[in-house]
């Protein structure tokens, strides 16, 4: 074992299991993610990575097992409550609001912990108090010039970048990124790697990606998931040379 063993993990799961009508998508997963680390989750399609993310973010309720965030049991909590506890996630399939502008997206995220959203008697201009911070966030992902455009008109790469800014707007302790580089051109992939490196400062990140270049450049630790179970966990180099992993990935590009 290397980095982070003496530190309390930010996130740990114990015997986390999810059944879908008899089919076990996530089986007995014990995962520990050290504070401030970047943890990659890899594995073939259907291994249960997205399901695991859905459990961690509250979109699915585990069949059994527990999820501990920063010493607090969050098993079975609702997604909005988990978000307030400092967990932000992006979605594997780009998931934004087509009728809102980039700026409006970020204002919405920044307003979330303030309770301003409930004020139906106020003008939506009150959201402008988040404008400066929203523009800052857009600047971080290099999108200030697109602030006033409707997201429905964005190109794919732009949407993915906004997804990152949006997750970041919640100032999360834990950032869950589901395939942040899926379907991207090579340049966009490199840009995203830089971006994730930047925004991960002072945060803990768990991400899923099929691109081994991305995993190798970002991850402190890697867990390999197969058929809902963790097959191997270690550093990128340990995992890459592991016999079980090589067997599991035999025939797949490495």
């Amino acid at each position: 074992m290397t980095a982070g063993t003496d530190q309390r993990p930010l996130l740990s799961t114990r015997a986390l299991t999810k059944n879908f009508r008899g089919f076990t998508a996530v089986r007995h997963v014990d995962l520990d993610v050290a504070v401030g680390s970047i943890h990659a989750l890899v594995g073939p399609n259907g291994a249960g990575k997205t399901t695991l993310f859905n459990l961690l973010s509250g979109f699915l309720t585990p069949t059994s097992g527990t999820i501990i965030l920063d010493g607090q049991d969050i098993t079975g909590k609702q997604p909005e409550n988990i978000a307030h506890l400092g967990v932000a996630r992006s979605f594997q399939i780009t998931s934004l609001f087509d009728n809102l502008t980039a700026l409006e997206h970020l204002e919405l995220a920044l307003a979330s912990p303030t309770g301003l959203g409930l004020r139906f008697w106020r003008s939506s201009r009150t959201l402008r108090r988040f404008r400066t911070r929203s523009l800052d966030l857009l600047d971080k992902v290099g999108m200030t010039d697109l602030a006033d455009r409707n997201v429905g008109e964005f190109a794919y790469g732009q949407k993915r970048a906004l997804e990152l800014a949006l997750a970041l707007a919640l100032d999360p302790k834990l950032l869950l990124l589901d395939e942040p580089t899926a379907g991207m051109s090579l340049e966009d992939v490199d840009r995203t790697i830089e971006l994730v490196k930047q925004i991960s400062a002072g945060r803990t990140v768990v991400f899923v990606d099929h691109n081994m270049h991305v995993v190798g450049s970002l991850a402190d630790r890697v867990s390999v998931l197969q058929q809902g179970e963790i097959l191997v966990e270690g550093t990128y180099d340990e995992v890459r040379t592991d016999e079980k992993v090589i067997t599991a990935y035999l025939g797949q590009a490495q």
């Binding site: 979109f59 996630r89 009728n99 959201l127 006033d148 190109a155």
Partner: protein, 342 residues
């Protein structure tokens, strides 16, 4: 940066938000629309028989309440007659039994509608799409059934008769419908203003987010069901103001107010006028009420067939409704004009 990220995009508006010329054009447009709306609201009882003018105003607000859910939350209520009807009965009973001025009775009716909307909304907002429509319809039917059975209070099939129009000691009679219109239109405009305020508030922003992508909204930390429930109750209150006005205006409340066809009619008006606009509902309401009035006075009794056909035509030809289609045509004409100039 990749070429992908540098592709120029069309802006949301033709010109930037910060361009003073565009802003002036927008305020002129607003002024023009505001003037048209004001003239329409104030002039209506001069052009049409005043009781019909009140009907149009009441249905217009009712349609706005449905659009608040359909257009901005993406939830089709097929049970809004429950709120219109519960308020109609409550307002009628309040006016009858307590001799209170009718605006007070109407507000009381709206509050009753909101109270009943809490449990209905609580169960309905947990469903979406057709299931939301079914739950609202089921509850509305239940309320219809209760009103039908509870004859001591509602008068059953005979309805609630002889609801007075007392206004701070003055009893308005049928011939004074012209003045009655100007009193109730204040309540109608207040209800419409509230809907506008809701849509253009931080709350309204969250509603649009929920409509576009409810899971994403939850991931941002918003309790989607709570927001939907509040929107539902507010919508019921607005529908209640409309139902109360209708009841006092007619001096009579019948089971028809709770009937599922009433829910269907208001959805028709909203879709016909153009949903997601707030303006569309009133346009649709005016068209349907006037059409029904013409057909009824000419002795034609196939109103259902006519309105049904309009509905089908509307869904097939004008997806955006009258208001949306007109707005689209104007936008296109303006875009063409701008292109020719440059």
């Amino acid at each position: 940066m990749s070429t992908d990220l540098e592709t120029p995009l069309p802006t949301k508006f033709d010109v930037s938000d910060f361009d003073p010329r565009a802003r002036r054009a927008r305020s002129i447009r607003r002024l023009l629309l505001g003037t048209i709306a004001l003239v329409a609201v104030l002039g209506l009882p001069w052009w049409v028989y005043p009781p019909i003018a009140v009907d149009i105003a009441a249905w217009a607000l009712f349609a706005i309440s449905v659009d608040l859910l359909l257009g901005f939350v993406g939830a089709l209520s097929f049970g809004h007659a429950a709120f219109w009807g519960v308020s109609a009965y409550s307002a009628g009973l309040i006016a009858q039994n307590f001799g209170l001025p009718f605006p007070v009775a109407i507000v009381g009716g709206a509050i009753a509608a909101m109270i009943i909307a809490v449990p209905i909304g609580y169960l309905a907002v947990r469903r979406s799409g057709i299931y939301f429509a079914m739950v609202t319809l089921a509850f509305a039917q239940m309320i219809w059934f209760v009103a039908n059975q509870w004859k001591d209070v509602t008068g059953g099939e005979n309805g609630l008769q002889g609801v007075p129009k007392s206004f701070f000691g003055i009893e308005l009679i049928e011939t004074e419908a012209f003045y009655f219109y100007y009193v109730v239109v204040i309540l109608i405009v207040a209800g419409a203003w509230l809907a506008w305020r809701i849509v253009n508030s931080p709350f309204g922003r969250v509603l649009v987010a929920i409509r576009d992508n409810s899971a994403r909204t939850r991931a941002l930390g918003y309790d989607v069901e709570k927001y939907k429930l509040i929107a539902f109750v507010l919508s019921a209150g607005i529908a209640g103001v409309a139902g109360g006005v209708f009841a006092i205006s007619h001096g009579f409340v019948s089971l028809q107010e709770l009937d599922w066809t009433t829910s269907g009619k208001v959805v028709l008006m909203t879709v016909l006028g153009g949903m997601g606009t707030l303006w569309g509902g009133p346009v649709g309401a005016a068209v349907i009420v006037l059409l029904e009035d013409r057909l009824a006075t000419s002795g034609f009794d196939g109103i259902g067939i006519i309105t049904g056909s309009i509905f089908i035509l509307c869904v097939l030809l004008f997806r955006r409704g009258i208001w949306g289609t007109a707005k689209n045509l104007i936008d296109r004409a303006r875009a063409g004009y701008a292109k020719r100039r440059s």
